[in-house]
């Protein structure tokens, strides 16, 4: 079996895998990082979104072997120890989850939106950008609200990091 190695949430990970192994399977089954979910397995729902080299990607639609040498960020790598990431905090504050199944993918997508579009997001921009993330519970209203608030909160985060 071929070997794959990558950096996941800052830590080196390496394993021999069946070539069919999807990135999401590698994360969940080899590394036991079960925060990344599989909602559809048909590239539609976005529950499996992680960042690969800084970009949001559907991890059910990428082979683990393709991610060889990449840096991966999953929902588990977002918080700073016990302190939630501002986007996670915003989801909690705004009651942006019910069953929580879509939430890891929503939050990873949300952080990616902020990276690409900045800290001041219009509601319609957020809704357009969520095209690839499906939620069956919330009706999206509070998710959209949370992402707007999280995006604003992240601007503080960036300056804080820069100051450190």
């Amino acid at each position: 079996m071929p070997t794959v190695s990558m950096k996941v949430n800052g830590k080196d990970a390496k394993a021999d895998v069946d070539p069919r192994t999807l990135l999401v399977q590698f994360l969940r089954e080899n590394l036991r990082l079960t925060g990344t979910h599989v909602g559809c397995d048909t590239s539609q729902c976005g529950a499996c979104v992680v960042h690969v080299n800084g970009k949001a990607v559907k991890s059910c639609t990428m082979l683990a072997l393709t991610a060889d040498g990449a840096e991966i960020l999953t929902i588990e790598g977002l918080a700073n120890g016990a302190q939630l990431h501002p986007m996670q905090e915003a989801f909690r504050e705004n009651h942006a989850l019910q069953c929580g199944f879509c939430t890891p993918g929503m939050i990873m997508t949300a952080v990616d939106i902020v990276h690409r579009k900045g800290n001041n997001l219009e509601e319609h921009t957020i809704r357009e950008e969520l095209e690839g993330n499906i939620c069956r519970c919330t009706g999206y209203h509070n998710i959209v609200k949370a992402i707007g608030a999280g995006a604003r909160a992240m601007s503080g985060e960036v300056t804080k990091q820069a100051a450190e």
Binding site: P2, D18, P19, R20, L22, D41, T42, S43, G46, V49, V52, K55, A56, V57, K58, T61, M62, L63, L65, T66, D68, T109, D112, I113, R116, E129, E131, G132, N133
Partner: protein, 271 residues
Amino acid sequence: MYAFTYHRATGLRHAANLLEKLEDPKILAGGQTLLPTMKQRLASPTNLIDLDKVEGMSEITAAGRSVTIGALTRHNDVHKSPIVQQAIPALAYLAGLIGDPAVRHRGTIGGSVANNDPNADYPAACLALGATIVTNKRKIAADEFFKGLFETALEPNEIITKITFPVPKKAGYYKFRNQASRFALVGVFVAKRPSEIRVAVTGAGSSGVFRVPSFEEALKKRFSPKSLEGLTIPADGMASDIHGSAEYRAHLVNVCARRAVAAADEKTPAE
């Protein structure tokens, strides 16, 4: 997914050699079509050749009156490219309408064109702009390239390396999306070129992307949405499925064409 042997191509020539040598091979580019297809067992290559680490195939360059885009360029990078935004804003705009942000981070222009999905966006742009599809073996005019549903002029072991788009005087794209799949139910790309006007339609036809000569004639007299008012195309030859009847699609072709012409006039927003 059926089992396969994985090969990581280190360069174009390496990939081409593997394609020639290996039994039942298939190229993996962004995987946004191929992996779902393999999961459904509609494709089951014995050997998969991954282009992900191949360098030098994702550049965007402008030369003279054309823009050339490497086959491995991701949809998001076409959307964001200052070169494309400046020279052919409608093309940058189109790339930003494909799927969703995560799909655009992986999917490539070469993969989309090679796949020739009847509801895909890029084929309409290639045909309307008179693009040239460049492979490791030859150059193929878009007019000769798209052969029907998922059919192209590519030979089994041919790799698209880049696509060259002549810069039009103006161009516009209008996509009427299928709300569920985000593909085009109907998409119309209109290009006013120095020598001619082209109207190319994706999503509607039962055998893939096609041009509408009667619309092109009308626009030649006057490039305005008004020129298309009252013109119809026959429902015969349109696709028909649960998403829309042939008559509905034929109707949408005119609606989308008028909006594409209007978009060309106001310079398509390519944020």
